[in-house]
């Protein structure tokens, strides 16, 4: 990038917050998505909305791509600067501005870490339910941009159900504000909702107002083991049919159980085909009643063993298997590709069986775990990015998995976002006309195409796994 231009950016934010050396930029060339990497021209850490507005104005003048990011923990390649340009690292803007106990809202800057918000509101007896797996490191700006989910999706929904208002900077530098603290607000198009999950392709979100709930009085945990996948899936349906909505219902398949047991030796019964980890929260009495009913539903649906945690510590121990899943899987092979194909929950067993069949067909190792309650699966492929031939097969397997999910009425991504990883498959889900409409929305916000270019909309028929992705970048 031109030195005089860099100087202008330095004048906006100060020297310390403009990074331009090779090594500095290299460390912003990736996110948590395996296999994607691309160099930015510049990294800027702005301190407030006005600075972002000035940066965007200048970037528009010079047609420089803008990629905003928080912790870089996303799993869709959404923050990899594939077309170079400027990475806006928003971690300095991490102020928790307000917890409004009268209106049950909280207002904060995008760089605030999700778990820090949890801690702050819970100290006041309040509750912000979205809990993506990366919540200890992820930022709320990233959560909003990707519409992050988590384990509590079934009962509490995802990020989109909590964002009430946003302030954002448009590519030309103008600052807009939509929504707010009003529980009811139908003044015009719901731009707030549109920006949630827009993956940085429309605007830079600079302030967020979110809805809070009262913190549930207690939480209880139960684990159930099954000899067949179908029984586990039947159990999930039976619980919902009995009009119980657990706060989470997590699922591990046989392959995942095996790997977890090898890794952490917690005594999982390996002759079982699947396990469910179920949590319920609410008033103490209601929780006890629900957990009892869930336990008996598990047994009548074919669970071989059901264990209830007597104390919160025991509950934590039971959750160990689920929490250890990704770590254990990550140790098995050098590259771990975590996907999030999602189906209506009634199709859960069918989807897992298809994933297993597809893995066998392409001779790749795929373990599946995930959020059974909302049909959001995480088929996780254990592979090695250095083995091109294997990566080719992995790519084919995932392509078939996405097609299978769509056929079952599902979607190509439940909570990770489209980014680079699913761009090629978006049309599968929304159709040609749908995709064209989305492109026109993008055009209305970002006529110059500088906001996170290369994401969401595939430029060609590039494939899912990156090997070929960058052939067209320069």
């Amino acid at each position: 990038m031109d030195e005089s231009l860099i100087r202008q950016f330095r004048e906006i934010v100060g020297n310390t917050y403009v990074l331009d050396s090779i090594q500095e930029r290299f460390s912003y060339s990736y996110d948590a998505t395996p296999l994607y990497q691309s160099m930015p021209d510049l990294v800027i850490q702005p301190g407030d909305t006005e600075e972002i507005a000035a940066i965007l104005k200048l970037a528009s003048q010079h047609r420089i791509p803008i990629v905003s990011r928080g912790a870089g923990s996303n799993l869709s390649g959404g923050t990899v600067p594939v077309e170079g340009g400027i990475v806006l690292h928003l971690n300095r803007m991490n102020e928790l501005m307000e917890i409004d106990t009268d209106n049950l809202t909280s207002t904060f800057q995008p760089g605030l870490v999700t778990a820090d918000l949890h801690k702050a509101v819970e100290a006041k007896g309040l509750f912000y339910p979205p809990d993506p797996g990366s919540m200890r490191v992820s930022t709320l700006g990233g959560n909003v941009a990707e519409c992050a989910g988590g384990m509590r999706g079934l009962k509490y929904g995802t990020t989109k159900d909590y964002v009430m208002g946003v302030q954002a900077v448009l590519p030309d530098g103008s600052v807009v504000r939509f929504g707010g603290k009003n529980a009811k607000d139908v003044a015009g198009y719901d731009i707030t909702r549109l920006l949630v999950g827009s993956e940085g392709t429309l605007a830079v979100i600079t302030e967020i107002t979110a809805k809070l709930l009262p913190l549930p009085e207690s939480t209880q945990t139960l684990v159930a083991y099954f000899r067949s996948l179908v029984d586990a899936a039947k159990t999930v349906s039976a619980i919902i049919a009995a009009k119980i909505l657990p706060s989470s219902m997590e699922f591990l398949d046989h392959g995942t159980m095996h790997v977890v047991e090898d890794f952490s030796h917690i005594g999982l019964p390996l002759d079982m085909e699947a396990m469910l980890l179920i949590q319920q929260d609410g008033s103490t009495l209601q929780v006890e009643e629900d957990i009892e009913r869930i336990a008996s539903l598990c047994r009548s649906s074919g669970a071989v063993e059901v264990r209830m945690a007597a104390t919160p510590q025991e509950g934590d121990e039971l959750m160990t298997a689920r929490r250890a899943a990704l770590s254990a899987l990550a140790r098995v092979r050098p590259t771990t590709i975590l996907e999030d194909a999602t189906v209506p929950r009634a199709k859960l067993a069918e989807m897992v069986e298809q994933v297993n069949a597809i893995a066998k067909k392409y001779n790749v190792e795929i373990c599946t775990f995930g959020h059974a309650g909302d049909g959001n699966l995480h088929p996780t492929c254990l592979t090695d990015e250095r083995d091109k031939e294997e990566i080719e097969r992995v790519e084919q397997a995932f392509e078939e998995i996405f097609h299978a999910a769509i056929k079952l009425g599902g979607t190509v991504t439940g909570e990770h976002g489209v980014g680079l990883a699913k761009a090629r498959y978006l049309e599968l889900k929304v159709g040609h006309e749908g995709l064209e409409l989305m492109k026109r929305v993008k055009q209305a916000f970002d006529p110059l195409g500088i906001m996170n270019p290369g994401k969401m909309f595939a430029k060609d028929t590039r494939r899912r796994v990156v090997i070929g992705t960058h052939e067209h970048v320069h």
């Binding site: 500095e24 990736y30 870089g72 077309e83 990366s134 490191v137 140790r331 990015e385």
Partner: protein, 548 residues
């Protein structure tokens, strides 16, 4: 992409970097499998002190590993930025505790520093100025960097790969200091002891105060001038000569035969049983991670032999905190052990390993392994978290070495931190009341490097009269980090002052730690915070000793 770069990467893939004649063609040897275990989830970011302070991705463990991968795959060169960044790392290994994939970051950063020092040695022997090289690497344009997958696949078309010119160089002053420290002092225990004598003389004659008053200290760098105030009164040569080389057991009973199982892992019990009977078998026990032994106790079925413990003194520890070593021996003796101050032992090698001087570390390790083999002991016990973590790496350091690999593993199998061993032995009956409000600052290398953090807290709680209060953020580095408080003084003091703020909130009047570096840093923190009149910092073994 040029053929030569392609060849370089093919060699890298097999993890066998060639010995390069010049820094230009040098490919640093990294453990690619370990690097690849990092899945870039970013869970390490909030645990990292330098990321918390700077907010820059490159100053995080994930960032540093990415840069190492860039260098190992020929996308980046070892330049000044890389060097500064690798030495900005405190090496506290808090990221290892936070890492869901169990990446051994501490080893990776040591590899990186070793690569830096290797390049510097190579560039030192070259006479030509490589000023132009610096510009040749700074050409990577946005979006043009090739996919990592391509670059590290031998047959990939990595068009974005840069010409490799490793540019870091050593200044004359740096060469002199490193030579002095790593080759002339720390390889020789007797020289460290002599320095201790000089220090004792200076303190005894009041020279230190005089220097302080006359402003002589002003000619020292600020970092060292401030630190010298925190240096404790060292033991006199006479006191050192009085040390008993063997301290017999003094506890109510010898440890053997009275130990009860409290549920340690099977492998763990094997280690204890075989070691205690003197028939030490290496293999099985080495695979036991330190964390697995937390809170475990010994198997009841071991023989009736008294446990013979070899004290690893540590070089700095034995000079600066001679009394803490003596206290450790008394406490272990009270617990029923026979304690031997093993002769011919040397510095653990941590300082060398952390500073990219792996050759020196290996030399010291060999001397220690041989010395403790000769001593006929059941356990090697140390009381310095930093040394312990380095000693535990001996097996790794000598991997594949036909002569030393097995011996190193046997050494590690016998290794225990003093806290760890005491937690396994029957509880000591402490008799004296220690009236104090006590808090505990973890030694990073004891907690994150060895997984030992419950045991010291449990031991402190056993002391009569002690009111224990947990220090918030005790698992975060105090900024001492070996010689970091000298090399990166400002950041170190910022971290320390934050820490002291939390100490004040605990209202404790005793801060306990398990490592000499941390202890010195805590003493410095007490002075800086103006708490000298009512707060003291002590080694955990000294606190236990007070209650005997």
């Amino acid at each position: 992409m040029s053929t030569s770069t392609k060849d370089t990467m093919t060699k890298e893939l097999s993890n066998q970097a060639p010995v390069a004649e010049s820094a230009d063609s040098f490919v640093p040897q990294f453990d690619m499998n370990e690097i690849m275990n990092c899945m870039r989830c970013g869970f390490c970011l909030p645990a990292c002190p330098t990321f918390r302070e700077t907010g820059k991705e490159y100053a995080s463990p994930r960032g540093r590993i990415a840069l190492m991968k860039g260098i190992a795959t020929g996308q980046l060169a070892i330049d000044q930025d890389f060097e500064d960044n690798m030495y900005l790392c405190l090496g506290c290994r808090a990221c290892e505790s936070a890492c869901p994939a169990g990446v051994k970051y501490g080893r990776l950063v040591e590899n990186a520093r070793d690569a830096i020092e290797t390049v510097k040695s190579m560039n030192a022997s070259k006479t030509t100025d490589t000023q132009s090289d610096q510009t040749s690497v700074a050409t990577a344009q946005g979006g043009s960097l090739q996919v990592a997958a391509d670059a590290i696949t031998a047959n990939g078309a990595a068009t974005g790969t840069l010409p490799l010119k490793h540019t870091v160089k050593r200044t004359a002053k740096e060469s002199f200091v490193r030579n002095l420290v790593f080759r002339r002092i720390f390889l020789y225990p007797s020289r460290i002891e002599k320095m201790g004598t000089v220090l004792w003389a200076a303190q005894t004659l009041g020279l230190q105060k005089l220097a302080d008053k006359t402003g002589l200290m002003r000619i020292l760098p600020r970092s060292m001038a401030e630190m010298q105030k925190a240096v404790p009164k060292v033991a006199s040569p006479a006191a050192r000569r009085k040390r008993r080389t063997v301290v017999p057991p003094s506890g109510a009973a010898s440890a053997a035969g009275v130990m009860q199982t409290a549920g340690g892992g099977a492998a763990n019990r094997t280690r204890v049983a075989s070691a205690a009977t003197g028939v030490v078998t290496a293999g099985a026990a080495t695979s036991v991670p330190a964390g697995a032994s937390t809170g475990a106790s010994m198997d009841g079925s071991i023989g009736s032999k008294t446990i013979r413990v070899g004290m690893f003194k540590g070089c700095v520890m034995d000079v600066m905190f001679f009394e803490a070593n003596e206290a450790t021996a008394r406490v272990l003796s009270k617990a029923g052990c026979e304690v031997v101050f093993v002769e011919d032992q040397a510095c653990c090698g941590a300082l060398h390993a952390h500073s990219g001087e792996q050759w020196g570390a290996l030399d010291l390790a060999k001397r220690n392994i041989a010395a403790f083999e000769k001593a006929g002991i059941d356990y090697v016990v140390n009381n310095a978290g930093g040394c312990g973590a380095a000693l535990r790496e001996y097996g790794h350091w000598f991997e594949g070495d036909p002569e030393w690999s097995e011996r190193a593993k046997a050494f590690v199998a016998k290794l225990m931190d003093a806290n760890e061993l005491l937690a396994k032995l029957p509880e000591i009956s402490f008799t004296k009341e220690v009236h104090a409000r006590v808090t505990y600052q973890d030694s990073c290398h004891l907690r994150h490097g060895q997984g030992i953090w419950k045991q010291p807290r449990e031991l402190i709680r056993q002391l009569p009269g002690v009111e224990y209060v947990e220090l918030p953020g005790a698992d975060q580095c105090c900024g001492s980090a070996g010689i970091y408080n000298i090399t990166n003084f400002d950041l170190s003091m910022k971290i320390l002052d934050d820490k002291m703020g939390k100490v004040v909130d605990t209202k404790a009047n005793v801060i306990v730690t398990s490592n000499p570096g941390c202890l010195l840093q805590m003493r410095q923190g007490i002075i800086r915070a103006g708490l000298s009149d009512h707060v003291e910092a002590v080694h955990i073994m000294e606190l236990l000793d007070r209650a005997l």
